[in-house]
Symmetry: C2
Subunit: 195 residues, 2 copies
Amino acid sequence: MARKTGSHSEITGPKVREAALSLFAQHGFAAVSMRQIAAEVGVQAGALYLYTKDKQSLLYDLMQAHMDELLAAWRDEPKGNDALSRLEAFARFHIRFHLERPDAVFIAYMELRNLSDENFANVETLRRRYESELEAILRAGQAEGVITAPDVRLTTMALIAMLTGVNTWYREGGRLSRDAVADIYWDMVRGAVGA
Amino acid sequence: MARKTGSHSEITGPKVREAALSLFAQHGFAAVSMRQIAAEVGVQAGALYLYTKDKQSLLYDLMQAHMDELLAAWRDEPKGNDALSRLEAFARFHIRFHLERPDAVFIAYMELRNLSDENFANVETLRRRYESELEAILRAGQAEGVITAPDVRLTTMALIAMLTGVNTWYREGGRLSRDAVADIYWDMVRGAVGA
DNA sequence: GTCTATATGCTGATAGAC
DNA sequence: GTCTATCAGCATATAGAC
């Protein structure tokens, strides 16, 4: 049965990652100390090293987990067959997924330069894999003749920047619901690709 | 005439700001030490405090100067009279101005959380002033009946995010010239607002 | 105007007691 | 599994010599 002292590894591990996520998003990776993370979890600084090799791994694990979840969630998202309904599915999915985890999104964009070279390359690979999902939809749309994109790669980057931008201003309980925002953004996406 | 030793304040001051700009953009404000900045300038750390009150002021001065330049440059930019040509002028201006100073743009977006409360509020005021320039154009376009924007504030944020996003992928000497990029983005902006 | 030297405090990470 | 204690190093900022 339950032990009285010490062993909380199944609880403490996730708590460490949650605390790091929140603190990194608020103050930035470089500005957060291991002691701050430990205090947030309710342990001493030394105890963190039972759950992470070092501070760098803590950051990398958060970013990799985020990108893995993103790719898996899009893989499992219901999508239509034609390019236009796939594009709509992507736009709505991207907004929803990103609004659901603002801290992880913020870190994934802001802390890339604090990754080691190897870790950076791995995260970049995952990011490009996600971008290429949208790119493929746009190419299909062009082949079907339902959209206009003079440069698919460039349109991909423009649309992702526009959609991700929602995170910078959206506030829960604000003027517009998430669905209302997604409706308007989908209209703008459609217009931007001439559909 | 020219003194032999010491007095280089007219040179060193700007050099300090240039070095800080470059290093903050590369590694992040919190990760850069005053010693690193001093080394880049070619002086000892203590000498920096002749040119800045402290590290925080160094960051704030860079961001404020950037926003001031942005607003002044847009004010002086030639613009048409009708809303549609003003919108085109804004889109092309925004891309050009931001591509010309990637480091300052990067810092202005990434280091907001490292500003003191008061400094943050000041920078935010300037940023909103710039956003409201685009907002006014969109409202005029609606009044003229040449664009469709179900929510002007939201469209403002979407367009700015899309346009600023160019900085994340554009590389000098790449596949497309700045003008070619601006042409394509202007098409997307026009489509997004149904013009 | 710039230097050296220094005060004071926090950093990441480890060793060993319990 | 967590704690305390500690190491070695670097941080910002200042004081005073030149």
